[in-house]
Amino acid sequence: MLELRHFRFLNPEWFRKPQSKLEATLRIPLVTKEIGILALTRVFPLIAIFSLTIRFLITFPIIPIVLGVFLYILFELWVLERWYKNNLLPYHIKNIDFVNKMEIPVDSNALIGNIEKSIRMSAYGIVRIGYVGLASWGWEMLFKFIYPLIARDKEYIYSDLLIGMPNKVLEFNQTLWEVANETDNSKKVMMYQSFLDKFGSVVDDMDLSFRTFREKPNAIKILLDLNKDTIEPDIDHQKTLNRYQSTLNSVKLIIPFPFFINLVNKVRANVVLREDRRFYEFVMDYKIRVMILELGKRKNIAESELFNKSWEELKK
């Protein structure tokens, strides 16, 4: 059976904990199916188009395929960021809203239907957002390789150029800080709820058995306490931005600066994308967990047992 650990080569920071039976039988089969669909509808056709085009120019059997794969990688590096922003993310946000607005029906069969529908949407988003993530990772790898070749000074500080971007992480910290430092209690309650709605569904790993951030109130309370009477994250960010500007001003290059800045901007946009997508990728997990926990309650199954059951067992 396909397990999360089989995906660890993609990102060793994830898929490190043992996979629950429910995740393995409910979402993983759909994730696998979506990977297949993506390969058949996007990856293979693109490679085929590039390879066949080159085949008209080069008749040697292997070279067109190798060049086709290479061109496919370049093409995807170039277009995926735009595809993510213009198509995938708006579509996924619509799906997130749809799932978040789902009611918990009294009829258990309808509840099961809602869980299955939201899992399908979740799997669709996870696979495609993950695929875009590979391209954004590729941009940083490319920059890491290219920077020493185009920089005159050999102090390789490529990563100092990849800081100070406005991103969801900063927004997350700023919103948390604002909640922590709000003195009007009634306003604070509203701000806290809004913070949870916006950022509370981030997860630690891909498994429905793991609690989302908003389900860890003790941790959030400690974080709020730590944020009290501290410097505003936005002010800290300005310092980071200054660090970036001073690095950018000091780089000595063997290529014209306009080419370089275009490259830097493209890499920076992809680094932001890679981190920001975490705030969308698994955001349905909280609502899905709420629905699964409700189903478990109706069937008198404790939370500790619930995720050790297969979806078929739970549906019975």
Binding site: P12, V202, A219, L223, P233, E275, R278
Partner: protein
Amino acid sequence: MKQIKGLSGSRGLVTGKAKVILDIENLKKFEKGDILITVSTSPQWTPIIRFASAIVTDIGGSLSHAAIISREFGIPAVVGTQEATKLIKDGQKVTVNGTAGVVEIL
């Protein structure tokens, strides 16, 4: 003095008190300025990284979440040590050399 080797996640040198936190739910023992020792980080960890003086992780490379975020906050990070959470104990004084990718238990 024991040395743990990893990868450079974010440059810089810091000496401080280590706190081994395997789950964000065990944040109680963490104090501002502590060196965060953990398996790996995810967006859930972002708010705590802001208050750490350095990060050491078992898993991850120079493009990992811990590396990106620590660079953003300008704190040293050593990532991919494989065993930092096992070798370092709570409260131990450690030096994190993010430039060399080395952690020293003092």
